[in-house]
């Protein structure tokens, strides 16, 4: 079947299988920043924004995204300028292997779009579906707080 959706601001018409998951379609289309960690909604590595909300793309049927706006990690930076959340993750040392990072960044963007000034417990809850095995989650929390500060101040980067 064919479907039309918007990925990172670009309108795309894709041919998909009706049973395919959004994760697999996005990767096939070259959005390799969307990672597969479990295929079961347990780890969050595949998180993308689906009409503004972070979801596990390994669960969502691609066909469900008909007409939807999808944002992946590849759609965040403007040219060489990183999104403040990306910038904050790097500055705070929150990236180790980087495999869970795209999902965590997308969940953070969802959080900050609704709650520009989250408390630490709110950050932890918002990212509770994103598993990381390299870090102790300490520096990600710091990074989200840092990004929130920058974004409140209207800065694009630190």
């Amino acid at each position: 079947m064919t479907m039309t959706l918007t990925i990172n601001g670009k309108k795309r018409t894709l041919t998909i299988d009706p049973g395919e998951k959004l994760l697999d379609v996005l990767r096939r289309e070259g959005y390799m920043g969307v990672k597969k960690g479990c295929g079961a909604g347990d780890c969050g590595a595949c998180a993308v924004l689906f009409n503004g909300r972070a979801v596990n793309s390994c669960l969502v049927f691609a066909a469900k995204a008909e007409g939807a706006e999808i944002l992946t990690i590849e759609g965040l930076a403007t040219g060489e300028v990183l999104h403040p959340v990306q910038e904050a993750f790097l500055q705070e040392g929150a990236v180790q292997c980087g495999y869970c990072t795209p999902g965590m960044v997308m969940a953070t963007i969802d959080l900050l779009s609704r709650n520009p000034d989250p408390s630490e417990p709110e950050i932890r809850e918002a990212l509770s579906g994103n598993l990381c095995r390299c870090t102790g989650y300490v520096k990600q929390v710091n990074a989200v707080q840092r990004a929130a500060e920058w974004m409140k101040g209207g800065e694009t980067r630190g």
Binding site: C38, Q91, P102
Partner: protein
């Protein structure tokens, strides 16, 4: 070796990862991110039985299925015995594995592999492979392995390196210092403790994944998620019986390893498929396959017996370990040996020590390297026994440790007696800030005011516990790392390293070391890591070796390059080469004159006495300086449900000089949280038939954001004179801490000793009931 410089320029700074921008923008840097045309998708058929002989296998229907290109079984693959353990040659693990065999030894063991045009077709083809099994009696617990009449798991004639195959014993270790029997006889107090650890898994978020293809010269390229690219090349050549020069291994960005990728698990299969078909082949384990058929931490039963004088001085330590290696002996001997060799030297004041034990086969999931590598299993009973000894002697557990732990200028006979599955290497400790670690940690947790207080808040009772430990920095006189640095005429440098960054940040810290020596900012170091065609040899990322061993190779290479630069610059500056200094992208003479590095390189390349400024240097360490760690935890135990909550965790670690403090902290934070999961929630639950019942993150619970206590990671720096820039390695040590520390804190809170991990609410509650009757 140079003294500690007054100040570092690049080292010691929280510089950003050199690969950070690529990772944060989602660049296609990982194995499976490379899409090649005509790639075959590979799936493996796993054994449904724990122990069985394959009496017949019929793959005709699978081969006939449209889209299926290649099916591998024991009937059409090389039968070379090898080990999957990615260790240096000759590997200390037995050669007890074939690609495929007519015998399967655990649920999930390889039976066949199918390569097809899509993953769906490959999966469908697995279902039509007809296998007849003759089910054999299985060994499903460590106590069943060595009894008379037990099934023999490796009854084949051609396996080698097994200690006693007929009794399912992979390895046997027995070393003595002094006479422990006499030591115990002289002791005023004896404490004995036996602990059992569970099956647990590494669970990197990226599972094992390999892509293979042929290059333009028809050489086999393996792009693989590995910690050991050079061992992959060697072992795949051996397994497939092809010349090693036909293989190139590329390690791109890796989504975590923690030991499980120190294993040659899939490279042989996709490699053979590509060689047979000429097509690229990709295998990527599902999470379920990863749980069922990759590698685990060796479950162990470890008994520790301590004898001490009434003043707390240890007389004798005995440790007996029984390690379950599962169906194959990968890392069986060395993990067992490390259980003693990485723990007992800590208490070098005891004149008598005895370590012995065996690693045994079972028809259960296969053990492998896992961060901590046996030390984790050993520190659990050791540090709990120390806690108990302190209670019996009415001493503060801190004072008991302080009295007995190793210090600068001291050695332990264990270093020499017990090494990597063989004799070790003697060494004297040259840096140890453990006393300060203990002091700072105790202060931070509030030890004096919390210990023994049993603060009650509703059903929760609080307690504090502590433990200390050491690990090592690489494997002395075995590990080898090399680094190549070459200079470009714009003043930049290529740093080519076989060292394997698997998310640890080693590319960055190794570049920081080189940049420090060469007086350039990090941006001038262009890092290429781990390509067997282009980077020099390195054993890979394991045994806490990278910072110390690979770091020293980088430092030496950088120093040689620095000396070449000085020699070229000397005539330009009309100064003696020895008096020139490299900093700020330039060579400076004492008078204040300078010449840019770019200028120096241009001269070398285009003008006078032309040559390539560059060097390759190697490091084979002669010792393995231990990092030291003091752990403190405050826990709350719910007396209604048995739930244990870690309220606060403090880890003060002596890592030598932290090359990049953020990254050193990151190693500690990650290891401790992994250890907390191992202590409290993580457990592979096996059925009575040996099947993993919880092969998913849905039911194998690793810590998430909500499960992490407030943590204080304190880097207590020392200067390790044998290390690069004074550094030691801290990749592993942190993971050893949570089990004994939390166990001791639980004891402080509710008075029970938990001798089985993980400390699930149910186990805690049962232990409390057993104590209260």
């Amino acid at each position: 070796m140079a003294d500690r410089p007054k100040r570092f320029v690049t080292v010691g700074k929280n510089l950003r990862k050199v690969d950070g921008t690529a990772l944060i923008t989602g660049k296609p840097e990982f194995v499976a991110d490379l899409q090649l045309p005509n790639t075959l998708h590979v799936k493996i058929l796993g054994s449904p039985y724990a122990h069985a002989r394959i009496t017949s296998i019929d793959v005709r229907d699978a081969e006939a299925m449209p889209g299926v290109v290649c099916v591998l079984t024991h009937l059409n693959t090389p039968a070379t015995r090898h080990t999957t353990a990615g260790q240096g040659y000759p590997e200390p693990s037995p050669y007890d594995t074939r690609m495929f065999e007519n015998k399967v030894r655990f649920v999930g063991d390889r039976v066949a592999a199918v390569a097809a045009e899509s993953e769906a077709i490959a999966e469908a083809a697995l279902k039509v492979i007809r296998v007849d099994y003759e089910e054999l009696p299985a060994v499903l617990a460590i106590d069943e392995a060595r009894v008379d009449g037990a099934p023999v798991i490796h009854d084949e004639a051609d396996s080698t390196g097994i200690y006693d195959a007929g009794r399912n014993i992979v390895a046997d270790v027995d070393i003595d210092v002094g006479d422990v029997a006499a030591g115990f006889a002289e002791s005023d107090e004896i404490v004995e403790m036996t602990c059992e650890t569970q099956y647990a898994q590494h669970t990197p978020i990226e599972t094992h994944v390999v892509l293979s293809y042929l290059d333009s010269a028809n050489r086999l390229v393996l792009r693989t998620s590995t910690q050991v690219p050079f061992h992959v090349r060697r072992i795949v050549a051996q397994t497939l019986d092809i010349p090693m020069q036909q293989i190139r291994v590329i390690k791109p960005r890796i989504g975590g390893g923690f030991g499980t990728k120190q294993e040659i698990l899939l490279e042989d299969i996709v490699g053979l498929i590509t060689l047979r078909t000429g097509q690229p082949a990709l295998i990527s384990l599902s999470r379920q396959e990863e749980f069922a058929a990759s590698r685990t931490r060796h479950p162990m039963r470890v008994r520790v017996k301590l004898g001490a004088n009434s003043d707390g001085r240890l007389n004798a330590i005995e440790m007996e370990a029984t390690s379950n290696t599962g169906a194959y002996g990968s890392h069986g001997l060395t993990v067992l040996a490390n259980t003693g060799s990485k723990t007992l030297p800590l208490y070098n004041k005891a004149p008598h020590a005895h370590f012995y034990g065996q690693a045994i086969y079972t028809n259960l999931p296969v053990g492998g390297a896992y961060r901590g590598y046996g030390a984790t299993q050993g520190y659990y009973p050791l540090e709990m026994a120390m806690d108990e000894l302190a209670v019996r002697l009415n001493m503060d557990p801190i004072d008991l440790r302080t009295l007995n732990h190793i210090r600068v200028g001291e050695t332990s006979p264990i270093f020499e007696k017990l090494g990597e599955g063989r004799e070790g290497v003697s060494q004297t400790v040259k840096s140890c800030e453990l006393p300060r670690c203990i002091e700072i940690g105790a202060e931070r947790i509030g030890w004096a005011k919390k210990r023994g207080k049993r603060l009650k808040i509703g059903p929760w009772v609080h307690g504090v516990g502590m433990s200390i430990m050491m690990q090592g920095s690489g494997i002395p006189e075995i590990d080898m790392a090399a680094a190549t640095i070459k200079m470009n005429e714009d003043g930049s440098f290529n740093l080519l390293i076989g060292a394997t960054d698997l998310g640890t940040g080693s590319d960055t810290i190794l570049a920081q070391i080189a940049a420090e020596v060469l007086g350039v900012p990090l941006t001038k170091m262009l890092v290429t890591s781990s390509d067997t065609d282009y980077t020099p040899f390195d054993v890979g990322a394991y045994a806490s070796s990278t910072t110390y061993v690979s770091g020293m190779a980088v430092q030496k290479a950088a120093e040689q390059v620095r000396d070449q630069i000085r020699a070229v610059a000397a005539p330009l500056l009309k100064a003696e080469a020895e008096r020139l200094e490299l900093r700020d992208d330039a060579v400076h003479d004492p008078s204040g004159d300078q010449v840019s590095l770019a200028r120096v390189c241009q001269r070398a390349m285009y003008e006078t006495d032309q040559f390539q400024i560059g060097a390759t240097a190697s490091c084979v360490p002669t010792e393995s300086p231990p990092p030291f760690l003091a752990n403190f935890a405050e826990v709350a135990v719910n007396t209604e449900t048995g739930k244990v909550k870690v309220v606060h965790y403090v880890a003060a670690v002596d890592c030598g000089v932290a090359i990049n403090p953020h990254m050193a902290e990151g190693q500690m934070e990650g290891a401790i949280v992994n250890g907390i999961g191992y202590a409290l929630t993580e457990e592979m639950i096996l059925s009575s038939k040996g099947r993993v019942r919880n092969p998913s993150f849905f039911d194998y619970k690793i810590p998430g954001m909500l499960d992490v206590p407030p943590m204080d990671i304190i880097l207590v720096e020392s200067y390790e004179p044998t290390g690069p820039m004074g550094a030691k390695s801290v990749g592993e040590i942190g993971i050893n801490g949570p089990i004994p520390t939390i166990a001791n804190a639980i004891y402080d809170a509710v008075g029970v000793r938990l001798t089985e991990t993980p400390f699930t609410p149910e186990r805690v509650l049962n232990a409390m009931k057993a104590v209260s009757g």
